[in-house]
């Protein structure tokens, strides 16, 4: 089998592929597609849709926080009964808004929209595979995500409102229908939607890992993988290990809610009446949830960091600084992400000694994170920087990663966390380091790989405007929140301005809200640019950024199967930029070392001999097979 396949590459195997292409109709090409590129685009467009919804929800609650006296009658057509007769937002719906904003942004936008898009789109293209290991499972992964989205979307419109217990849905608040309107049907739909989402993530993750391990092209060893692929690979590993735990947590919650068990419920009195549930432990839920919840942060962030590594290296025209250090620090983050979850629970009644251990482990994460930041900065250092929009967004990510990461060191300390937990300080922290950083990674990726996705360029000038408005806007929104938080302003409160110590922050809240609205508005520029460029953008050249990785060796509009002929073989790592002695400032991975004697380093000369022997061998086999066939 293997022999036939290798030897007759271009002859049979690939003509066969092209044959398939002619039978595609609209449904198999755009809807129930098994082509990883189209599935990636489906994830992207769905992710953008959810980002708009999630953003709009945040604008509504920012209006409430910044302008508590504002009359919101004009929202009545959209929100109906959730605006009361005085024109005020219903407090219950406020809670639903923050819950849904969190759920949508964390899971639907920054997990599915980021990892789903770029893992699907880039893994086969950058490792040299024709498609994912299982195209069908990949398709299933998207449609489970879609179904999950449909259920979550419907829950926004039901009478009792969507889930409202925060995106962490802690019981007993989420377990008892009597607790709040959102804990009724809305919560049930949340759980069903999340079950489908977990199934989708696992199907996707299994596929990504299998593909990266089993389907790399010849010569693509792990030490020659682009850092994007390393990041997607480790993200999938994290997801594979942590999402099942969320499933367990959700399953027990379902039993508590619908079957009357007492996993999380104990000694609860409602209206003076004791509930029958005894013996449950709400902290148990927190342990299970955060065992997913913390790795989830890195599921969101690692792909963005991988994308940034690639884009910064390409646009600095320099090899990434510390390729191995980057991989090791990502591995370190992957492992550490599983043993720090309880730092979300410092004030949940945990043993303080245990708190110190988790504090120590948490602070260790600063090391691999700092290594990564250092490597980004040293890659930029004295590079021939090209400020494409993708590059700007990548640098923006590094900026957020630093400023948001620093506050993480504060929050990781169990003593300081007593003051800061559940305040806007936390909100500022994770919106910078996880939310905005990952969002910028997503944007960087879209600007950078748009030419490969749609064969056209996005407008750079609109990209610059989009970048600067968003970059400044994000800091305007989240920087003031640090002050509000240190002052003790708690998150998730409908209104906190009636107190003497907090009403002086009304102006600051107003400022934040205005900045948030402007930042959201700036995203419309992106939306226009994205959809306009898809049809009317400048036709892209084959390798517009002059990058080394394999995806730029495909045709402008790669068909299902990616390469029309043989899959290219890889001879070098992906970061040979500005190599001394080379004619061009980049050498694609497909160029053999033997073709670039002028730039080879001493140890590479050794490899050249090996390479020549392999190439000669292969030709022998080809000739032998041909003579045998004829």
């Amino acid at each position: 089998m293997a022999t036939a396949h290798t030897a007759t590459h271009s002859a049979s195997a690939h003509d066969h592929h092209d044959d398939h292409e002619h039978h595609d109709n609209f449904i198999t090409k755009y809807i129930f597609t098994t082509d990883h590129k189209m599935i990636g685009k489906q994830f992207l467009v769905t992710g953008i849709f959810w980002a708009i919804i999630g953003g709009l929800l945040s604008i509504i609650f920012r209006l409430q926080l910044g302008f508590p006296d504002m009359e919101l009658y004009w929202l009545k057509p959209l929100l109906g009964g959730w605006i009361d007769d005085a024109g005020k937002l219903d407090p219950n719906f406020y809670l639903a808004l923050v819950t849904m904003h969190g759920t949508i942004m964390v899971f639907f936008v920054l997990t599915a929209g980021l990892s789903g898009t770029f893992s699907n789109f880039l893994i086969p293209l950058q490792i040299g595979a024709r498609d994912m290991a299982s195209g069908f499972m990949n398709m299933l992964s998207y449609w489970f995500f879609f179904l999950s989205g449909v259920i979550m979307f419907i829950s926004l419109f039901i009478e009792t409102g969507p889930a409202s217990g925060g995106w962490v849905v802690y019981p007993p608040l989420s377990a008892l229908e009597q607790a709040m309107p959102g804990s009724g049907l809305g919560m049930t739909m949340w759980l069903i939607a999340m079950t489908f989402f977990i199934a989708s993530s696992l199907l996707g993750g299994i596929n990504y890992i299998t593909t990266v391990i089993n389907l790399r092209t010849k010569g693509m060893s792990f030490s020659r993988l682009p850092l994007t692929i390393w990041a997607f690979f480790l993200t999938a590993v994290i997801g594979l290990l942590s999402f099942p735990v969320l499933f367990s947590a959700a399953l027990l919650l379902v039993f508590d809610r619908s079957f009357g068990t007492s996993f999380y419920l104990s000694d609860i009195y409602i209206g003076g009446e004791a509930l029958p549930n005894t013996g449950g432990s709400p902290v148990l839920y927190q342990h299970l949830f955060w065992f997913l919840g913390h790795p989830e942060v890195y599921i969101v962030l690692l792909p963005a960091l991988g994308i940034t590594s690639e884009i910064i290296s390409v646009n600095s025209r320099k090899p990434i600084f510390g390729y191995k250090a980057m991989i090791i620090s990502m591995l370190g983050i992957t492992i550490l992400s599983f043993i720090v979850w309880a730092h979300h629970m410092f004030v949940s009644g945990m043993n303080p000694f245990l708190g110190s251990i988790f504090m120590f482990l948490t602070l260790i994460i600063a090391i691999p994170s700092a290594v990564k930041v250092f490597n980004y900065l040293t890659t930029l250092w004295r590079g021939n920087l090209i400020f494409t929009p993708g590059m700007l967004f990548s640098i923006g990510l590094v900026s957020f990663f630093i400023s948001g990461g620093l506050t993480g060191i504060f929050l990781g300390n169990s003593a300081i966390d007593i003051q800061l937990h559940d305040t806007y300080f936390v909100v500022a922290h994770f919106h910078l380091v996880m939310g905005s950083a990952s969002f910028f990674g997503l944007m960087a990726g879209v600007y950078h790989w748009f030419p490969k996705m749609f064969g056209r360029m996005m407008d750079a000038r609109l990209g610059y405007i989009h970048f600067w408005l968003t970059f400044i806007g994000v800091y305007m929104v989240f920087f003031p929140m640090h002050y509000i938080g240190i002052a003790g302003f708690p998150r998730r409160y409908y209104s906190w301005t009636n107190f003497e110590f907090s009403n002086m922050y009304t102006d600051l809240n107003m400022f934040v809200s205005v900045a948030a609205i402007i930042t959201f508005g700036a995203q419309l520029i992106f939306l226009f640019n994205f959809f306009y460029s898809m049809y009317r953008g400048r036709i892209a050249s084959l390798n517009p950024w002059r990058a080394n990785t394999l995806e730029w060796t495909t045709p402008l509009h790669p068909k299902h199967g990616n390469w029309p002929g043989e899959i290219p073989t890889v001879y070098r790592w992906p970061y040979d930029y500005s190599k001394p002695g080379a004619a061009e400032d980049f050498i694609p991975q497909t160029v053999p070392l033997s073709a670039t004697p002028e730039s080879n380093l001493p140890h590479e000369e050794e490899l050249v001999k090996l390479e020549k022997a392999i190439i000669a061998d292969e030709e022998d086999v080809l000739v032998a097979n041909e003579s045998k066939e004829s």
């Binding site: 293997a2 022999t3 396949h5 290798t6 030897a7 290991a133 299982s134 499972m137 696992l202 993750g205 299994i206 596929n207 890992i209 299998t210 593909t211 391990i213 089993n214 389907l215 790399r216 092209t217 010849k218 693509m220 594979l240 290990l241 942590s242 999402f243 099942p244 735990v245 499933f247 367990s248 947590a249 399953l251 027990l252 039993f255 079957f259 009357g260 068990t261 007492s262 996993f263 104990s266 005894t278 013996g279 449950g280 432990s281 148990l284 342990h287 299970l288 065992f291 061998d617 292969e618 022998d620 086999v621 032998a624």
Partner: protein
């Protein structure tokens, strides 16, 4: 010439494992994580006190024996398939499927035994956890039985033989895993109830 062909076989080494088999192993990892989290939750919850003490149904010993036997018979079927002994393969598959169903029925009787002892799904988490463990395991086992039956049917259609073992191998892996998972759960319960 033979040597040259050898070389090409080796060159394909990055594809070290059948992708679907690999994906199955990853799926097994997710199942392991589900049960690892549930059993950890059990320990965490148990350490907080207010824990109902009761004896495990003795039927668990029988079902454990049944599932070990089913693994042995499946392995016998697998070895037979390797030797192209199709008759033994079919007998082995039939025995395995029957034992699998017997295990499921046995688990159902264990629930009846639990109810007799007044250990209910709704009540003290000690009992609820037991139902969740056995129920969730049985759910996975049903998927394993479906897999067994698929292989059984294809064995009658001459689709399982020494040249075509991938599906059979995946089925064997999954079934041994499910058996091992049950033994783990049973040992865990024996030690921690």
């Amino acid at each position: 010439m033979e040597e040259k062909f050898e070389y090409i076989e080796n060159a394909e080494q990055p594809i070290a494992m059948h992708p679907k088999k690999f994906a199955l192993w990853l799926f097994i990892v997710t199942v392991v994580m589900i049960f690892a989290s549930l059993t950890s939750a059990y320990i965490v919850r148990q350490s907080e006190g207010n824990w109902l003490e009761f004896d495990l149904p003795s039927i668990f010993w029988y079902t454990s024996g049944i599932i070990v036997l089913s693994s042995i018979s499946l392995h016998w079927a697998y070895i037979s398939a390797k030797k192209d002994d199709l008759a033994s393969l079919r007998i082995g598959m039939i025995i395995t499927s029957i034992l699998a169903l017997a295990f499921l029925i046995g688990q159902w009787y264990s629930w009846i035994a639990l109810v007799d002892r007044e250990v209910f799904f709704v009540g003290n988490p000690a009992g609820s956890f037991l139902y969740v463990f056995t129920g969730l395991h049985a759910l996975h086992l049903i998927s394993g039985v479906i897999f067994l039956i698929i292989v059984l049917i294809s064995s009658f259609r001459y689709l399982v033989h020494s040249k075509n073992l991938d599906t059979m191998e995946m089925c064997v892996t999954y079934w041994h895993f499910l058996g091992g998972l049950w033994l783990y759960l049973f040992m865990f319960l024996l030690l921690n109830h």
